[in-house]
Symmetry: C2
Subunit: 362 residues, 2 copies
């Protein structure tokens, strides 16, 4: 009734099968494969031969149970089809692969419930780090929620990394990789102002989204610096999508709002805005200038090519992974708190063809 391993069994072969067939011990096979122990040439050949014959690969679960195993990073993303997120993911994935790490991707669809479920799932998987991507909603509950995640992961020997979000308050075990969001918006708005624009329609994004808040703040500061007040109704909030850009401009035109430029919260919103202007018979940039934010490939594929703010998304991904890897190498040194756990990358304006000085009005 010998149950275990009937010949021709469909299941994958184990290290024991290899050992048996090669006439050596299990330990020897393990050593040949991991290569961190001296083995005779003869043994190596014998084992490798069988490994090839059986097309054997080690069981990753067993391996990580036994202590070894390849480190894994989990990337949690709102929507995998967002270009900006995809670039961060690419950065993380690339840097992970370079180190032989594995990367998992999960999408939350903006649902806190799923976010929680995913964080727990990743905790089960014993991932080295969980990378949370994208702007966050600035509700009161948010800080508490993230702090809980951070501590929970930390206790499990993992680590939370926030990318593209403001850092957590207090002494929370998390790393933040951020970009100079407000500074970029300031520069972008200044670019419009210095071109002579005074009446600018601003579409920063959702009012509760931290990203939108920063971009709006940057614009406000620039306007202040130029001594130009925001006209009434010149700011319209809404989601970061094409439709919002389209509708916001369409509505503004219908309402008779007077503006010579559009400061969009993202490139996609800018694309929608551009389309709406065209539909209304206005030319870009001759009649109305438009600028975006993010510098995703779309920006340079539109006609006219979009002047926008470059955000080093892919590099942020790489930096995030490096931070995790360093902390893992460095051991438990310098855990003095959340200082040094906040990295900020620069942004800059990319000038293309979507801005002109405003047309002379009579």
């Amino acid at each position: 009734m010998s149950q275990r391993k009937a010949a021709g069994d469909a299941g994958r072969s184990t290290i024991r099968d290899v050992a048996e067939r090669a006439g050596v011990s299990v330990a020897s096979v393990s050593r040949v494969l991991s290569g961190n122990y001296p083995v005779s040439e003869e043994l190596r050949r014998r084992v490798m031969k069988v490994v090839q014959d059986l097309d054997y690969v080690t069981n990753a679960h067993a391996r990580s149970l036994a202590g070894g195993g390849t480190p894994t990073v989990a990337i949690l993303i709102n929507n995998i089809t967002g270009a900006a997120f995809a670039h961060v993911a690419k950065g993380v994935e690339g840097a992970a692969t370079l180190r032989g790490w594995l990367s998992l991707v999960g999408t939350t669809g903006d649902d806190p419930e799923r976010e929680l479920a995913l964080v727990n799932l990743m905790r089960q998987q014993g991932v080295a780090a969980v990378v949370l991507l994208g702007g966050a909603y600035d509700y009161d509950e948010y800080q508490l929620r993230m702090a809980r995640f951070a501590r929970s992961l930390d206790a499990a020997g993992s680590h939370l990394v926030l990318v593209g979000r403001p850092p957590l308050e207090g002494d929370v075990p998390a790393t933040t990789v951020d970009y100079d969001n407000e500074g970029g918006a300031y520069a972008m708005a200044s670019h419009l102002l210095s071109a002579g624009h005074r009446k600018v329609l601003v579409l920063p994004g959702h009012a509760e989204l931290t990203t939108a808040q920063g971009r709006l703040r940057g614009a406000e500061r620039a306007f202040e610096a130029y001594g130009v007040p925001f006209g009434p109704g010149m700011v319209r909030h809404g989601p970061y999508d094409y439709e919002h850009g389209y509708e916001a401009v369409q509505d503004s035109l219908r309402a008779g709002l007077d503006f010579t430029a559009v400061l969009a919260g993202t490139d996609v919103v800018a694309a929608g805005a551009m389309q709406a202007l065209r539909a209304a018979g206005l030319r870009v940039p001759e009649d109305v200038s438009i600028v975006g934010y993010d510098d995703i490939p779309l920006a340079s594929q539109l006609t006219p090519q979009l002047t926008t703010v470059h955000v080093p998304y892919e590099e942020m991904g790489r930096v995030a992974l490096r931070a995790v890897a360093d902390r893992r190498e460095g051991g438990s040194g310098r855990r003095k708190g959340s200082d040094g756990d906040h990295l900020v990358l620069g942004t800059h304006v990319v000038v293309r063809n979507s801005v002109r000085p405003p047309a002379q009005r009579t």
Copy 2:
């Protein structure tokens, strides 16, 4: 010298810790958590209390070693930033999540070496299936390579799924989810022809890419059906990117090629072509019509909005996962070969604003 589990240990807590603290046996805790065995209310409360206190989660590695564990699908993709691929990935991921499955993402960067490494890595992880995304290069070696992957995965209890590629020849244990690539190209080309275009610049993609081959074949069939021959030099091969579209059109114009429409291999190529035409002072669609392929969001964000072929990428992803899940449920029934393992989804032309009848020439 009691090594194991010094109080306040940083590592994650085990099921044993929970059992000890709740004053019950390890087995009882397991039963409460997996819930597949009757437990008294009292026991459940006691255990759950401790689980919450300790913020305990089961170790996924240990669990899957012991037989349980959540199934995992691996998605292998050339470039995560490609919009089409991202949508397939979204479909797979969504359907996986719906079933409580986990999904891994790996990028190959078009490198066969990395592809092999990743397939093996996934085999180690014991994934339920490996989903390979995107068109394949039609080299001789390719069929052998994939067949080897398929058998290798099959032997390990896993399964290979090819999405957006032609099916493998012979009796190979793999599933293919495909779309009517050639049919879509035929319809698209017919659309141009019926609008009166006779001189069409065709940019199908890389000559060796199966996707490009199918699209070119579809176009050829349509031209034949209309009795229109391809003019000399009207087909230009190249990568599926913006730059290729731009340069192909630029070169063609410089070479004095005469054409009234561009049949681009993808929407991104179409965007590049459009830009090049504009740069040359030509209007779209008044002077030259353009059509794309894929129907990614970009298509409707360009000005004019692009007439293109809709490919149900996200649904393909869902279908791929369902196929894997079904096969897993169904057990080892009906393994009669590779029939029924090839699913083809339909495509259709989406008419927007980038096509007009050709201008009257003198």
